[in-house]
Symmetry: C2
Subunit: 252 residues, 2 copies
DNA sequence: CGCCTATTTGACGCAAGTCAAGGGAGGTGG
DNA sequence: CCACCTCCCTTGACTTGCGTCAAATAGGCG
């Protein structure tokens, strides 16, 4: 199912997000609102872009969750990061010719595709919008760095707890729940994100449950004890580079 | 030891690098050449910036090697990436308020500091230079992603071989050697980059040596068999997003 | 020469992987 | 509406890659 439209309503959440990092002027808001956007729906598991693609668009997540991923030669799948509403998973490709990672829908989702050409033109006319989009790619990079730390230095228990913390925090910030979130991921996929097997994820999830920190059951993550989970996961949201208002929302 | 100067000669290698991705016009070259740059020298191990800093500059590596790094709550140190001449390790911070990682000199090195303010002004006046700098941060992000894959999905042997491949490739591209490179890293630091202990790095280095793929001895990495090392390390340089001329140089 | 730091090696333990079997939940078709 | 199928989760038994601990060796440098 496809639809072509101008950004006005579709991109409002993204425009709000940008407005929270820089104060937008009227002509800048108009430029964002007049971006042509094509919406496309995806089902669980659908690939959206693949390694090696030379995309001419980037897409913003309108609803659902996506996973950025990459394969090793031996067939191992690493989930690099996930994205929720208002995130732009492949904005990373705006100035790169070929994609070095793929993006797949983790559950049923809707994306808004924007042409790189339109984005670049907009950035050239409105340098502050360029800064804002650039900043978005830099925050993604900060998350990649935190995941390197997670994968390289923390043990399995801490790693999964950290993953749950980030997932819950970012979903809460996107308004997708308070302490219970619909997360269409299998234990296999959580394993691919944390560098371990689904069997071990299962054992750790059981530990987290019996420690009354969190529960993950049938596609739903429930945080039972935020402070405890944060401590177990060695989670400090500084790397998310939140705005003060986001920090307040998260603390609440 | 410090020195203030204008970019003219100091930044020439960086200007050449930028010119290899976009064709620069005269006014753009002038803008780059007139950037105020302050050079500072560092000794092995010196921190250059730290987690939590709110830097007002970014610095380009003029000589030497730097490590970007980050610590876990338990004290584990993860090296996130290394940088060589013409790289800009903390350009990532240009649109972020506080640093989520630190950068340290891996050996004696010289850096050229540039004010964020000057860089931002230049980017606003010359949108194509903004694109070029943005691209540099995106390539760094691609390297973070590959390291996630390396840390999460590959076994120790492959991981170290991959690390050596990237190190050798990027040093070769920076003109720092052909198949033998001065690498002022300890086995401890290689372990921090690959998520393992120095003891295990040592065992793996011995295997690589006895397989006649590479040697790492007293601060010097020697590649004995490029094709073999690349295969052992599951290394495909696509993620480095090289220009055609760089690809040719690497293949040679 | 003597100190300091890094490398090297061996013995042992553990976190996480592998293999395999059984159980639940939800969807589908007869 | 029940039977069956297909994923996925769950658990147990066994294996292994890598960590830990500890001690010996080797270089580099004042």
């Amino acid at each position: 199912m496809k639809g072509a439209a101008v950004a006005k309503q579709i991109l409002q959440p993204l425009i709000d997000k940008i407005a929270s990092t820089i104060s937008l002027q009227n002509d800048e808001i108009e430029a964002l609102e007049s971006l042509p956007v094509r919406t496309v729906e995806f089902a669980k598991g659908d690939p959206i872009v693949r390694v090696g693609d030379r995309p001419r668009h980037s897409f913003v997540v309108l609803s659902g969750i996506t996973c950025a991923l990459k394969y090793s030669g031996a067939g191992g799948r690493q989930i690099l990061m996930f994205h929720v509403a208002t995130d732009i998973p492949d904005l990373q490709s705006i100035h790169l010719n070929t994609l070095d990672f793929g993006v797949a829908a983790a559950g049923a989702s809707r994306m808004g595709f924007m042409l790189h050409r339109d984005l670049r033109n907009m950035c050239h006319r409105f340098p502050r919008l360029a800064d804002a989009l650039w900043r978005i790619t830099l925050v993604d990079a900060a998350i990649f760095r935190e995941w390197e730390l997670n994968l390289g230095q923390r043990d399995g228990y801490t790693r999964v707890a950290h993953f749950f913390c980030e997932l819950a925090a970012r979903m809460k910030l996107a308004g997708l729940g308070d302490d219970s979130f619909s997360v269409p991921l299998t234990q296999q996929e959580i394993g691919d994100a944390t560098g371990m097997t689904s069997v071990h994820v299962n054992r750790i999830e059981r530990e987290l449950r019996s420690a009354k920190l969190s529960e993950f059951k049938r596609g739903r993550l429930t945080v039972l004890d935020w402070a405890g989970l944060r401590e177990a996961g060695d989670f400090d949201p500084a790397y998310l580079h939140l705005t003060p208002s986001q920090e307040r929302l998260l603390a609440a």
